[in-house]
Symmetry: C2
């Protein structure tokens, strides 16, 4: 017989969840973080069943991993050099099997073991749909990355390939769009599914960035992550910095074997959930980082004024395909 959350009851559920935290960690009304001379970075992200994940394409362990990864990605894109941990608010129907929750927290633990930090605390409640709200806490290093610190003349660079997570989703969904593209290299398919299921927060790429700052330059760089897509990330830097940008089509950060064509360019630009760093850096710093960071890529440059993003080859606007959580939800209901 399936053990459900309603069958367990709240007290037993909390007792079982405590096993995923250090002994005694969840014993009090709050948890304590040690005093530290470094500033604290805080981020909250919520993942909702049917919008950010679905049982069809994402195992509960992968949901847990992704909930951590999406939060730590924001910490990395802000300059966090150490992760304290996360709090987790879990909402799920009473009919949810305990095994689903156990796998979710297993995925959470795997991500924390990989990137640092512990399960600091949390809360749980019944609700009509499954969702998880995570708050991550980390420590700021010497470089505070803001979206609004880009300067004209900066190089635009990114820590990795884009579009893979979107391709992974299409492969997992058996998306008919992919018919006729069966010639996709097996390595690319594998890479795409892995990127969708187990995205990596790029704390490593931030470390390389800090290590490779030219001594004569100040700690000034702009950055964000590409959780909403590469183009959305560049647009966020432009809007916050009141600059424009040029992207170079030939430099689109495509993985090896990535096909040519409009669809594939769109997925690369607007696919989302790749969780790579997108940075605006002085040329010298960018060059050094590109040398030392595997798979990092130059994609364009920051220009003066207008908040507009154009192709460097044609000077024509780069078009976005907007994804709106609330709009899409309305369509579903």
């Amino acid at each position: 017989m399936t053990v459900t959350l309603a069958g367990l009851g709240e007290a037993e559920l909390l007792r079982r969840l405590a096993r995923f935290a250090p002994p005694g960690q969840l014993a009090d009304d709050t948890c304590t973080l040690a005093a530290d001379t470094r500033q604290l970075l805080v981020n909250t992200d919520v993942l909702v069943d049917g919008i950010h994940f679905s049982d069809r394409t994402t195992s509960p362990a992968d949901v847990g991993w992704r909930a951590v990864a999406t939060n730590l990605s924001d910490l990395a894109a802000s300059g966090a050099v150490a992760v304290d941990g996360i709090t987790v608010a879990l909402v799920a129907p009473g009919s949810t099997p305990w095994s689903w929750v156990e796998d979710l927290y297993r995925g959470i633990s795997e991500a924390l073991n990989c990137y640092g930090g512990i399960l600091l605390g949390g809360d749980c409640s019944a609700g009509t749909e499954k969702l998880i709200s995570v708050t991550a806490l980390g420590r700021l290093g010497p470089l505070r990355l803001h979206r609004g610190d880009a300067c004209p003349g900066d190089w635009l660079v990114t820590s990795g390939h884009h579009g893979l997570s979107r391709l992974g989703l299409a492969l997992l969904q058996g998306d008919p769009t992919l018919n006729g593209t069966s010639a996709l290299m097996e390595a690319l398919q594998h890479q795409a599914i892995s990127q969708h299921r187990r995205p990596r927060p790029r704390l490593d790429a931030l470390t390389t960035l800090i290590e490779n700052k030219p001594e004569n330059l100040p700690w000034r760089a702009a950055g964000t992550d590409s959780s909403d897509g590469l183009l959305a990330a560049v647009q966020a830097l432009c809007n916050s910095s009141d600059c424009g940008a040029q992207l170079t089509h030939d430099w689109l950060p495509r993985a090896e074997g990535w096909p040519a064509g409009e669809l594939w360019d769109q997925w690369c630009l607007n696919g989302g959930e790749d969780f790579e760093l997108v940075l605006s850096l002085p040329a010298l710093w960018a060059q050094r980082w590109l040398e030392h960071q595997p798979d990092s890529r130059r994609i364009g440059c920051i220009t003066a004024g207008s908040n507009q993003i154009v192709w460097s080859e044609t000077r024509r606007p780069v078009t976005a395909a907007e994804f709106d959580h609330f709009g899409s939800a309305l369509n579903e209901t």
Copy 2:
């Protein structure tokens, strides 16, 4: 025409929510907290529509206030002497009117203005039901209150009356249980509804506790808040400290005009959501605190062994009425 979240779209919603935070506070992927020599206290609580609040008894502004109050109450019950602020994850259907969300954040702002701290950051997403997950961050003072630090011989004390929030809910619901009790004093009714709608986190009572520690005593006290009811709070102290407790029936912390009778005793013991401090203190410290803290009350004492709570008058067990979020949700579906 009603403006809904789907009508606004995510970008415009985020722009409007940013008005409830200091300028630029929500501009980056994360927010920063200043380095501080004091330890940080962290708490997460989630409030779900239909379980923790309902449109029938709670206005959206009151939901926002309560979401802050419930979190800050946990901070107070752990020893927080200053509040940094909160992050808010909001989930709501696309059909939710913007006015509901605006009122929610107005209530949040009112509570933060009252108790300190700012809207640090957050996230929002569509979902099938309204819920709000709040993470609060504060700074620890000289006294870290743990649940597990109670000692036999300690006095059990609390910062205020209990059962008022439950009575307030019954009044708002027009609970038939109240028929025949129309003689309830008007002042008590008003107090009960106010306690239900706008519960107070007792940061003030913690301050008094810190100020009144006898110099010769160490910083050792146990505490929690009575969010799940007075008896649940005492039980939590007993379980974590591996002690028992005696409650004195004559000392039940009833408000002025609180009727006698089984139902009223149960509401006082198990009503929940009163958000008072429940403390286990050395007698001398307790006496001084009771002298200086208006409405505080002695309710019993901590005893050796057994985790059992008995009435001091009869030595018979004090009975709990368990509330289980997941069980109750199962009954509803």
